[in-house]
Symmetry: D2
Subunit: 343 residues, 4 copies
């Protein structure tokens, strides 16, 4: 940490800062500048609240943190790509995975039709919501455990592993009994009890970025999961909230490229939520891949205009089947391996 003194700070003010730094068992080294002085804080265990603490001192202009607040998720301390294994699939490390399925599980027929269609088209994993977070209390909120059973049945019949959302800590055990990967939704990215419970479950986690979360906060939330002994975290960019209203969210592909650089975790992208429009999902799926994403997650529904939720952003099975070969061709040019390939 660096403490920047004001140009008119007195010697007593500087000394008070140095004394406080020593009280924390740290060392302060002063650099005397022409316009103002700065203090470098040295020590391995700088308390997270030190910045605010020192900024209250008279004579201090600002205190600047110089290390990233996450460690376990940081590439700096773990240079090689983490590879998350789900059954036979490898996620991360140069492969490319496609996860597809409906926003919500609605019926046996709907989920089976979709599961077979997306497998046929080449998808690697099936998604589908049994528990749905909804802004309004008056909208469909999922089939609950019945939805989980239908997902498990779809897996049994198609062989596709399943990923589904868990919304509250007490449901983790239940959802983990059915799912291969536990999804933490954007609205729950900072539901810290949920993060820890998923961490303890031992199941791979798919952690969506909160719609107004910074990349740093996203990686800190991953840190919560990893800190419970679970390194199998897949990050998922799904669009952020900005001033632009022509699209539901603003897909942040800078974040995909930067998260890949700052962290060793695999990063995938969800262009269905990221755009909110089915006709924008294909170009943004291709763009995500080109930006370096380790995979994409797409909403696919056999009859989107009768879907109980998010129909406007779902691809039909036909649209999805048309998109798959484009993604594969692009992946080949980019030198990516299919997620089913052996390492």
């Amino acid at each position: 940490m660096i403490v920047v003194m004001r140009s008119n700070a007195t010697e007593e003010e500087l000394n008070a800062v140095l004394t406080r730094i020593q009280e924390h068992g740290l060392k302060g080294r002063v650099t005397y500048g022409e316009e103002r002085n700065i203090v470098g804080v040295i020590g391995a265990a700088i308390p997270p609240t030190l910045r605010e603490e020192l900024e209250r001192f008279p004579g201090v202009q600002e205190a600047v943190r110089i290390t990233r607040p996450y460690k376990l998720a940081a590439r700096e301390f773990h240079p090689h790509d983490t590879i998350v294994q789900v059954g036979d699939l490898v996620i991360g490390g140069g492969s490319f995975i496609v996860i597809a399925g409906p926003c919500a599980v609605e019926s046996e027929e709907q989920i089976m039709t979709t599961a077979f269609a997306v497998r046929e088209a080449g998808a690697h994993m099936l998604r589908g919501g049994a528990f749905k977070p909804r802004s309004s209390p008056y909208t469909f909120r999922g089939l609950g455990e019945e939805g989980l059973r239908l997902l498990a049945q779809a897996r049994a019949e198609t062989g596709l592993p399943i990923v589904t959302e868990v919304m509250t800590p007490t449901d983790v055990e239940l959802v983990a009994r059915y799912a291969d990967v536990l999804q933490i939704g954007a609205r729950n990215m900072q539901n810290f009890q949920l993060l820890e419970e998923v961490g303890r479950s031992g199941k791979p986690a798919l952690l969506k970025r909160g719609m107004s979360a910074t990349i740093e906060e996203w990686l800190l939330s991953a840190e919560y999961i990893i800190a419970q002994g679970n390194p199998n975290v897949i990050l998922c960019e799904r669009g952020i909230r900005t001033f632009e209203t022509a699209t539901r969210n603003t897909m942040d592909l800078n974040a995909v490229a930067l998260a890949k650089r700052r962290s060793h975790l695999p990063v995938i992208a969800d262009p269905s939520h990221g755009t909110g429009k089915w006709y924008l999902a294909p170009p943004l799926a291709l763009a995500s891949l080109a930006a370096g994403a380790d995979g994409v997650m797409l909403e696919v529904h056999p009859d989107p205009d009768r879907a109980t939720s998010d129909g406007g952003q779902s691809l039909t099975c036909e649209n999805f089947a048309a998109l798959m070969p484009q993604m594969t061709a692009l992946a080949n040019v980019l030198g990516r391996r299919d997620a089913r390939w052996r390492r």
Copy 2:
């Protein structure tokens, strides 16, 4: 709902839309325009997903919702101010309440000192966190139940009712045993199970606006609580996330004035989180009051530069004591009653 057809939509496309509207038991009335036609959808029970459904139809440019999605929280259907009673205090309906206390309960001495100081200065209610949501897993996360006990002790000794945050549905019962008002934090504004559990608790709820939540989403979250039979919801603006980084958040006082107009619920403001800087809290507290807020919530700490969290935004007891008479003078000019006054 209004369905806007494209300028080149065919008659079959228009008829397909009308047919689908009828399948939902609704009526569609066409207005034939010079450039394009529009369809008004008539009926009491328009499904929340109808908009997305119709926007997928060929020939449809867009579908526009014309009613607000919340009812119980809407002033349109409940013109008079809701007044939330907490002990002898009345919140809403022209009164003005001041809630003060530390970000986190840290020790008996800290909370007792603060409680007596803020009561002495004129505060009506005591705040303090026992369970703290923190972005990083490496920071202080509260004393838990011990913190609740200390809050209860502070209430017993000072007579001030207490408000404290509850973070997860399974803790609602525990926290409700100690607290007078249950706070739902910004990060949990869309933790729907928590909203419902707080709704069922029967305790008044203080619902903070999520840091990237629209006013409509905020009122929908209030709707979740009220729908459980609990009308005692206090809305709290605490700053939104914008591009500006000179302040921690951007206090949105437009939202205070607009929420008062769109909803009958009391609305208070939290300038400590809204600014993130102790020296900006006083002017913004006064501004909140002038904008129509029914009260303010302020962080006060006897020794902010040694606080375990958010010290940089806490007022000292002396700063708070200096601010109270300014707020009272302003409230008088604005014709507000003290929250202790009988109705």
Copy 3:
């Protein structure tokens, strides 16, 4: 400036940074930390591009600027409030000014009616646009010089000084012939030729904050004007663009309070544009005053529902007359002087 080295930076990488710093005639002082080293850059004339330059060096994690980039606008180097004098009026330094008038000058009758009405109600200055920036080429763009003549006539008949917008450098001379204060609109906050031309005109400038400008950028734009020898700059907060769409902009009163602290320039607020709704302008005008603004600028129109622009955010003359005594009462409680009082 502080240069933070990576934890694994080599000694050669550190030396390369030090060498480059010396090439600029500056000194670099290394603080050797336990996890990483940092370099403090010392010297009076640090080039503005040094930060980017050093961040490209291998082994550098980031470079952090520790001084504010503006000087002439900074309170740090000019502790006392700047007071802008316009005729008999004083703006800044504890006074409070009310500027009122229509969005655009439309006709002699309209501007005269408004001018007399706002003077009667107590306004200090008249506003009105002769040149209007409009997003669409198909909307009314002002009367041009005829509008300026009508404003001058309104000043002659009412005695109110006038403020009006200038949109392009070549118009500065023309507008300065008529106006008492030259307004630079939000869209032109970074039209640097315009800033300099207004700086050279010698007329007081009213500088609106750009709708996505940071406070720092706003003060840098003020710096452009002052650097031409014109210290008479009035800052005007008019709402920023955020994700919230229920209001036209989000009024940022944090910025009013912070700009007052960081700069010595007077700061006023424009709640008409800041909210975009006439019924939100009064509460936000009061809030601006309470937050510390040196004045407000309000849109007033004798017949807003027939206005050629921004009618939805204009107060009627009656609404404005009802608001003035509330503002005056609040200003009294806050200890503010009327802008007409002698210093």
Copy 4:
């Protein structure tokens, strides 16, 4: 336009709305709903201010515009791609163009070295700033006309057409004498006099999206240029301002895909400004192409760590040479033609 009445609006209030609509020479058709009534406004020439006008009427909840405010830039009225011809190059219509060069022209040696290097690597056009908009008055602002002369010399020696920014209406004639394409920067996207002057110049325009401009506003600014009789507008996404600070801007590739759909104009992307980091520019350049961009504009500098501006986001000539074959391979897979191919 649709006017939505309040649920409790009276018949007089409804009639007042209908009367006003008739006064404008338009027709109003009422749809009587169960909860509220709506009025469709019919007519070819709806005034742009009608929405605000009607929203002030008692009994009106809101008025909703149902047509897009731009015509000349809209694909709805011009279904085929506009192709902008610059010398032998075709931009739009399925081709892919690469524009490269330094942020600012600094010296003959710098621009010549860069021009030859980017031509050698395969770039189609040369960029370079002679007039630079800078937030701070203390930074390098370009060589002015000398910079234009150097660009012209680079064109003469390499055969690459040149694009350069023009910042103020009075400079359009000068810059148009040297440049093949006139760039309008993000800060000037709503400098309407400049848009019109560029429109009248007859030269192709490269219109950058403002950093907080909606897609609609961007297309409206294009409308200003086209309305002067100049259809040769190239749109350029260059990142928007959001809450995320880890990157300089947030590249909005949704906007690229959506602008291609809503408008017939070519759309290119600038990942150098869109990310602000040289190491993120390559993945985002590839992503832009995959999202449907008709080209990319990249900053390339022979010695970025000594650049006078934006060095941190510039590629070296070697980095650029390494990126070109990746872009070409991707373009081939996507079925794009090189911009030099004959139509």
